[in-house]
């Protein structure tokens, strides 16, 4: 059972480039999330989804886009990368609200130069 799989693990982008961070889960979880973690800091929610076809903004959505065409996949798109987007990105999932904590992926370290 793979859990939550994120690719790539590391990436260096040039300013203005675009990329997609991939996230896949094989646990049939309805809820999926994208967080960013800046160095030495906590987690900030970028976008989340409560099911296929449904997405919603978190606290820091600017500069990002998401889609949820299937239960398994929740890709995060960065358009026109900026140095402020240098961070570690985590994807997470859970089966439902309430008593379940998140299952996290192993993260993607992104550097924009």
């Amino acid at each position: 059972n793979a859990g939550v799989t994120q690719t790539p693990k590391f990436r260096i982008l040039k300013i203005g480039q675009s990329m997609t961070l991939q996230c896949t889960q094989d646990m049939n979880h309805n809820y999926m999330y994208w967080y960013r973690q800046d160095p030495g800091m906590g987690l900030k929610l970028i976008y989340y989804s409560v099911g296929a076809g449904i997405t919603d903004k978190g606290e820091v959505p600017n500069g990002y886009n998401v889609s949820r065409s299937t239960t398994e996949d929740f890709p995060l798109r960065l358009e026109l990368a900026a140095p402020s987007q240098t961070s570690v990105y985590f994807c997470a999932s859970r089966p439902r609200q309430g008593d379940y904590g998140y299952t996290f992926g192993s993260g993607t370290r992104l550097t924009v130069v």
């Binding site: 809820y31 999330y33 800091m41 906590g42 987690l43 929610l45 989340y48 409560v50 919603d56 978190g58 570690v88 985590f90 997470a92 609200q97 309430g98 008593d99 904590g101 998140y102 299952t103 996290f104 192993s106 993260g107």
Partner: protein
């Protein structure tokens, strides 16, 4: 709005000692869940322990236990017989029963010294 506060940015203890990490939260809800997550240098986020607000009994997982004080809105994590592998960032987190999102504190960096 719900908030989670971890007042200790960084702590250091000797191996084999017991350490307590503090967490307070603010909510007007009655049904909610609390979590502690561990993030070691590998950066993987690992769920350590969880507590349901309707349960008075404190949750325990091996060397990890919590002191849940609902009236005081306090949720501290105790690590007994600390080990070098406990060195990590620890995040306290809160989730209302009806909310889609978990709210995280800013974290406490814990160093276990040999």
């Amino acid at each position: 709005a719900q908030t989670v506060t971890q007042s200790q940015p960084e702590m250091s203890v000797q191996e084999a000692e017991t350490v307590t990490l503090s967490c307070t939260y603010d909510t007007s809800e009655n049904n909610y869940y609390l979590f502690w997550y561990k993030q070691p240098p590998s950066r993987q986020m690992i769920l350590v322990i969880r507590q349901e607000a309707y349960k008075q009994q404190n949750a325990t997982e091996n060397r990890f236990s919590v002191n849940f004080q609902k009236a005081a809105k306090s949720f501290s994590l105790k690590i007994s017989d600390s080990q070098l592998g406990d060195t990590a960032m620890y995040f306290c987190a809160f989730n209302m029963n009806r909310d889609d999102k978990i709210i995280f504190g800013k974290g406490t960096r814990l160093h276990i010294l040999p």
